[in-house]
Subunit: 556 residues, 2 copies
């Protein structure tokens, strides 16, 4: 019989990517990227030109369909694969990326009546204009001792469903009223493909505070936030919530035509992008911490137990792999810090030397930094350039560097920044362990790990754990394709579960990074120093960072 | 009658400068610089090529005479001034820059017998190889409760006479034995000009721990350090110690010929370079803090009272202006921090933008930084890139910056560094005030103040005091010339005292920097934050900086 394939579609912030994967081996056969025609809408609305406030970030729902129309046929064509060889489609998405729909499932922003109202558009994950709502949600949930709060580390984000929906109600009650439902873009795209109105347990759990047994936050809580919010969950977030790997439905005739696939091809429910990476590296059983490392890092972990640990941003049953509690934690800036350093703090002579040696500035710095021993620079940094997500959950914290002398070199500061993010990850590992959630191995994916060997060695040395590296740079799309193969099911030549799929399709490199004992010993000392400064600046020893930030806001 | 002139010769680290000054007005008529032919000798000895250890720094005594031979005639010629119009010569010098002499006053290094021994050469102020001796001196002085110790803030430097002399004894006892005397280079050059063996109260007080009433550290103390040191003060530091402004003698026939001046021309006793700046800006009465700001900052102040305040590096009666206690404090890096930043941490795009605008990187940063308001960056730094001299007296402290975000710009960090040095100066002012030594006005000189208006405005805002700026960039040489005019005396057309000389010859700009109340209010808050971090990192709250430095030493 011919080979069978699944397609994963990875919806990022600026573009979408289709990946054609061989189901038997996980081999990535072809890939194609479609930039969103409207990109991130953060200045003016399309067509009307209505101006947006500075902390807004919207998208155009048609851009998502454009990815299906262009990239899916493109990978088929590139690989010379016939439509009938593709048995399943899965998608992963940024989240919470949500939109209001009318009774027909049409985004309000596509209706002439609403398109000039910014609240009718898709609110992208990084839309940051609902902070007041988030603050009030957290205050009230704490006051009332709501059971859902500790599952999110004691703090819900302004990026999530509740805050975004409430912002719509507060600023555009007419949009709120006219919205038959609010839907994650992931679910909306699946609905476009299948005609089925279903939600997925991943975005519902991590972004809309849904719990498999307890459901959404209670009507009583919602009413106490705002009487008009009482029906939010019952009405506007209604609909079946299916575990990951579920088949949402089969491709409709019309979408099959658009995508160049066969009608009825199995489509899986959507998943958050970072979470899709977990099966893609084969981490489908407890004790394996997956670090999706890019501009920021998302840490994901499975466990058989529900534990409430400090600084864990979310714990959701069926949130990643059905049957397990999926834990999420994060560092709000990682690659972003290194990029900031290269852009804003690396002297001209380094740029010139790198150019002369024919390497990037990052590579030049990495080479020099790799030649040094841990502790040799006398530098130590706190990795809070974009606040601290886990374990402190405090967006108002800022970066710290100590130990500079007149002899300090750029490559030394660069290394101190790499180390700082490793200490941040170790603090997260320790928080899990204090919550009795064991972590035995680390898996790294997401772009940075393949580019920076020194970074990975430092993470191994600082955490004292072996690290496996994803053998794909399209890890999220690979994970999405795996869910597509599971949605197709074993009978169709796919798999009965994501665990089975991972056994065949997951991809990690043979080479791993192991702790070097001499380095680990020095990092043991340095981590203690990090932890002391972490607690001093982050737990109220001296709230100078927050006072400086408040002063900055007041003065700017 | 023709105009009368004095010549000041300023001996720096790399070169010497002669300045011809109009005695009636302080006008700087001509100047000439002679680089030292041997520069700083820190790798190999001249002639023999004997290799030096890395923390050594020596000089060649003939280089000092070369300055007199070249630069003095050059200024006379440039100005068309006749020898008989020059009534006095004064010199200022780096200190403690010391050397062993034989019975004839010849530096041992000039004798074939000794020249291959590094210890026979001039030890420059920044020779840092006597740290072990300094540590032991401080331990023992503390243990014995020696009265001199608190006059130096509780700590003598490895740069000073005692440590340097003891190092010679420890490492080259034969040189120590053969040394008839140890002499400051300042005094040796005066001796070359006049044939008179005299010392000055400034270097003796600040660098050899001499006290006008109590003399040098006691024989008992010296013996307890090392029995062989017992006679150090009595024998090897013997000789009259004259107050500043004293006439050491008249120019000898031979030196008058070398310098192109008249024999018998009055020569003042020497003075430390920074201290010479005090009269040069007219700060000859109590309450005026003079900041000699260059790579580091030296703070100088007169008072009628002897008070022992924390972190004051020295208090010496007659140490600056006869009749007053002269106080010295310091910041071990100021301009050096800004230079480090420009060299090691300013990105290529800034360098390019500055070049396009035809300004230096410093100027570009200053312009951008000046456009911001205090507190607007959210940044705060501790100015300890080269340790902290006053008030903590701790060389093992290192730099700290807090408050970075992904939006932080180089000009913001630059401004935070300028501010950090201003906070450091305010901490020194407060230490004086806590010791009941009043400070009413600030005077800035030394190179930086004329170049950076933003820096001066920040100092005014942070300290809440008006700042006057020296109207000369050769302030030390001007001060030395004033002492030359005083040595000549009123009868010869000079002055009866340095106070009288300052009334006519001192030069400050008309424009001053006054605190801007709105800025001062913000800096009041920021200074409190600085102080809290200062005490946390500097007074044992968290000794992380010292532990990191120890680790660095151990690893390197």
């Amino acid at each position: 019989m011919d080979k069978r394939y699944a397609i994963g579609v990875d919806y990022g912030t600026e573009s979408g990517r289709a990946l054609l994967v061989d189901i038997a081996t996980g081999e990535e056969v072809a890939t194609h990227v479609t930039p969103y025609p409207h990109g991130v809408i953060d200045e003016r609305l399309p067509v009307s030109g209505v101006k947006l406030r500075s902390d807004w970030a919207l998208q155009h729902p048609h851009d998502y369909l454009e990815v299906l129309r262009r990239s899916v046929p493109a990978v088929l064509q590139a690989a010379g694969v016939a439509p009938e060889q593709v048995i399943g489609v899965g998608i992963d998405f940024t989240a919470c990326t949500m939109m209001p729909l009318d009774k027909n499932g049409t985004p309000l922003c596509l209706l002439a009546e609403w398109r000039e109202n910014p609240h009718s558009w898709v609110k992208l994950w990084k839309h940051h204009a609902a902070q007041e709502e988030a603050t009030r949600i957290n205050e009230l949930a704490l006051e009332r001792g709501e059971a859902f709060l500790p599952r999110y580390g004691g703090k819900l984000s302004s990026e999530w469903m509740l805050a975004k929906a409430w912002q719509i109600l507060n600023e555009a009650p007419e949009v709120y009223e006219s919205a038959d439902t609010f839907m994650e873009a992931a679910d909306w795209v699946v609905m476009q493909m299948t005609g089925e109105f279903v939600r997925n347990s991943c975005t519902a759990g991590y972004k809309a505070n849904w719990h498999k047994q307890e459901g959404f936050p209670s009507e009583d809580f919602l009413r106490s936030l705002d009487p008009r919010l009482e029906g939010l969950a019952r009405e506007k977030l209604r609909g079946p919530i299916l575990p990951l790997g579920s088949k949402a439905g089969g491709l409709t005739e019309s979408m099959a035509r658009v995508m160049g696939l066969r009608p009825g091809t199995a489509v899986a429910v959507g998943i958050i992008d970072a979470h899709a990476m977990v099966p893609a590296v084969g981490a489908v059983t407890p004790g394996k911490l997956v670090m999706a490392m890019g501009t920021s890092t998302c840490h994901l972990l499975l466990s058989e137990r529900e534990v409430l640990a400090e600084g864990i941003c979310g714990v959701v049953l069926d949130g990643i792999v059905p049957g397990y509690y999926g834990y999420e934690a994060g560092q709000s800036a990682v690659g972003d810090i290194f990029a900031w350093f290269v852009e804003e703090a690396v002297p001209a002579y380094v740029k010139e030397a790198a150019a002369n040696e024919g390497v990037s500035v990052h590579e030049w710095l990495e080479r020099r930094a790799a030649a040094a021993k841990p502790g040799e620079s006398g530098l130590l940094a706190l990795d809070w350039w974009n606040g601290n997500r886990s374990v402190l959950m405090d967006a108002d914290l800022t970066g710290v560097v100590v130990g500079m002398t007149l002899q300090t070199k750029p490559e030394e500061i660069y290394r101190a920044l790499l180390e700082a993010t490793a200490y941040g990850t170790r603090a997260i590992i320790e928080a899990f362990e204090q919550g009795s959630v064991a972590i035995d191995e680390l898996y790294a994916c997401g772009g940075l790990p393949q580019k920076n060997r020194l970074l990975m060695q430092i993470y191994a040395d600082v955490t004292g754990r072996e690290i496996r590296i994803a053998d794909s740079t399209q890890t999220a799309a690979l994970g999405a394709a795996m869910f597509g193969a599971v949605a197709a099911g074993a009978e169709a030549g796919g798999y009965g579960s994501v665990v089975e799929a991972a056994a065949r399709m997951a991809r990690v490199r043979e080479e791993t990074f192991k702790p070097i004992p001499a380095n680990a010993a020095v990092y043991e000392q340095l981590y203690r120093e990090y932890k002391e400064l972490h607690d001093y600046f982050g737990r109220g020893g001296n709230e100078v960072l927050k006072r400086l930030k408040a002063m900055k806001r007041g003065r700017a």
